[in-house]
Subunit: 164 residues, 6 copies
């Protein structure tokens, strides 16, 4: 097989070489929201959805998804995560059309050669999808929104915080 | 083991019994957006990101994720999907701070006993996460937003369309 | 490549051909127990373990595992499960050395060509393992015991019930 | 989104932070039994089951399952296992109703921040489930029993051995 | 978001819509070879490799891989396989440099809307990779070769046989 | 359970203990070919296959498969890969019956206790299978051939290169 030509490589996906980076402590915090009807949020807060405990199920789904990030996101490096937390917040008091959201906040940590932003964002998305799934029988119009990185620490690029 | 008590079941997660439902043709269409800096969108449109082809990689990631929805979302039923398409749109002309988004539109179909909303939403989220991953070296502040169901057809509840 | 000899096939693993069997409604019920110290059971009943909600987590883990049975058990056929329920029981009143067990009862159903015994047993085992994991910091001596099929219905072999 | 309230966290599942623990050599040994009719055990010992080699298949299934523990058990940390062995024992001589069991003994090792008890127990359970699957056509009443940790070494809590 | 432009679709990956195809009985047979030193083949035939039973392990790996084809090959449809067999052949008599190969023959069947060629080819490749893994300590120069479809039956395109 | 006999262990699969090996930089390069009709290669080179971009899809599939090697190959150790590249070559000029092949070259790296040969070979096979899948509608007779290790570096056995 003589005279082989490398297929033109511009634009080709590649998994970046991180082999020469040191193992350092990495943290990423991501957040997102699931917006819904006030009645749906009320059912979630009372744990009264027919499919069961929305937030407990979403928390487990998010934690499991963080661990499978490298299977889902093609160019992510596999990392041995050391900590995953998925938490939920809402506005106190009665839900109204303007504040009927569950906010999701996810923290992921590792000792590794590359950051865990994708793990935190993936956990947040899958937790949000699970909340949708638990409530969709009563509210198909829910939306998942504002999924973004809040903060990262560790590695060569150091600390990064989202502008508020 | 006498006098067993069922643990109180209120609020417990359960995978709904769909065994008595007929197999019908089901379609779901979902959409979402990844918002970014205009410069980042320009790089994606020119296929000039260092990590490679963002949309091609996101499309494959979304298609693969649709097929793994029942592994990710705890109470989803496994379904033999017959069609998955992940498409992208953007506003024509130059990207500005107000329109620097990639829109993702996902269609999933099956012949089955339950709908494919979660499959369409999951593919959309994972495609969005992949776009974030491809571009995060130049734009950590990107956000994934407005992930929602546009339309579903098939099954007892029939057709549903999102209000525009 | 002449004179090929089939490698001797006695004892070789094979996935049985079920292609000519009709799709029928299949049900399997399995059960098992996790035995522990009375103090550990008390912590589970009060949802006071440091790692969090043992039974809620075990229920989700069991449901997810049922869907992945064909990936774990080499010769199991993949099946589109239509119903999965994982429930827990314990003896009423104070836990003592003789009755400090959580009993797990799992029901799985499908419309398919082969039974769902393995799915019900796998969900039971993984729910039991999860309870162990949640409580192991306080009780490494817990044991998982009496995992067995209680009942199956559907298919050519019809109904089967365990002797009590 | 002002005045956000953290959802009450008592009882919530969390993946413990092990980031500050050193990597040390960890070993766990677990065991379990599959009890069956004497005739079934005779078929396994002669490698004469219709589905094929029960123990060879169970060994592979157990080894593969150990590597997937963190996908199955929600709060387990992913670990790079360095050694997995799944072995089988039975009572010498003719099988009788009292001794018709296959005993499974699994050893798992890693260099890591947390122990491998769950990996050893998971491999044992999946090997046991596979033996059930291979033999269920002739013996649906088999039971999986006495799955427990025998021994662990390494880490801050040091050595632990089951009471005999 | 007005004036959206569909990203140009030429060359974009898509999972073909098979929803309107009937479920029919599908069969695919694939084959392949692992070529090695005569001494390596002798060790395999005597089951004397240090890592253990090469063919038994390869058979299980191939069967499991067939069931995961849709996870590995991006545009494959998920299918409920009804039969998987992985068999091995070699030339009778002493192995020489010219005939030191293990031949793998894989048969996969389903009742479904699309063929199972990819499942048969994937099982063959993973069985071949497993044989390589079992023997690589003694023979790193082994090659996997002539992986191809031998025959397919069922579906609109009907029967196809490889030219010999 | 007295007088237990270890099942005879000759020929039993075992995952080799690598716990005492140091973490070193490991590289493996593997290659393989997909041979096809000249017309099929022409369609791939023009990115004109109906299913879409064959090489872009195969590259992603190969990268993802490298990360899942330990799930597919039973006795492989899980490794945190630090670099994966999948590249393609073909003979310049017009394709003829003699040179109508896509050559795949895969490089995998890690810092770990054991080599990454299987990861490089697995990525190569899955990329090849994906090319087959993309083109099979026009060319069922394609074959996957000459999958082999080209080079490995790192670890106790040091450097190895295939004879040309």
């Amino acid at each position: 097989m003589k005279k082989l030509t490398h297929v033109d490589e511009s634009g080709h996906a590649r998994m970046v070489d991180v082999g020469s980076k040191p193992d350092t402590h990495r943290v990423a915090v991501a957040c997102g929201k699931v917006c819904m009807k006030p009645e749906t949020l009320a059912l979630i807060r009372q744990n009264a959805l027919a499919k069961g405990d929305a937030l407990g199920t979403a928390r487990i789904a998010g934690i499991l998804a963080a661990k499978r990030t490298a299977e889902l996101i093609p160019l992510c490096h596999p990392l041995a995560l050391t900590h995953i937390a998925v938490d939920f917040e809402w506005v106190e008091g009665e839900a109204t059309a303007d504040n009927a959201c569950v906010k999701i906040i996810t923290t992921v940590e590792t000792m590794g050669k590359t950051g865990v932003e994708m793990e935190a964002l993936t956990a947040t998305c899958v937790a949000a999808l699970t909340i949708y799934d638990m409530g969709k029988a009563v509210d198909r119009g829910m939306s998942i929104t504002d999924i973004r990185l809040l903060e990262k620490r560790g590695g060569k690029s150091g600390e990064w915080k989202a502008e508020s």
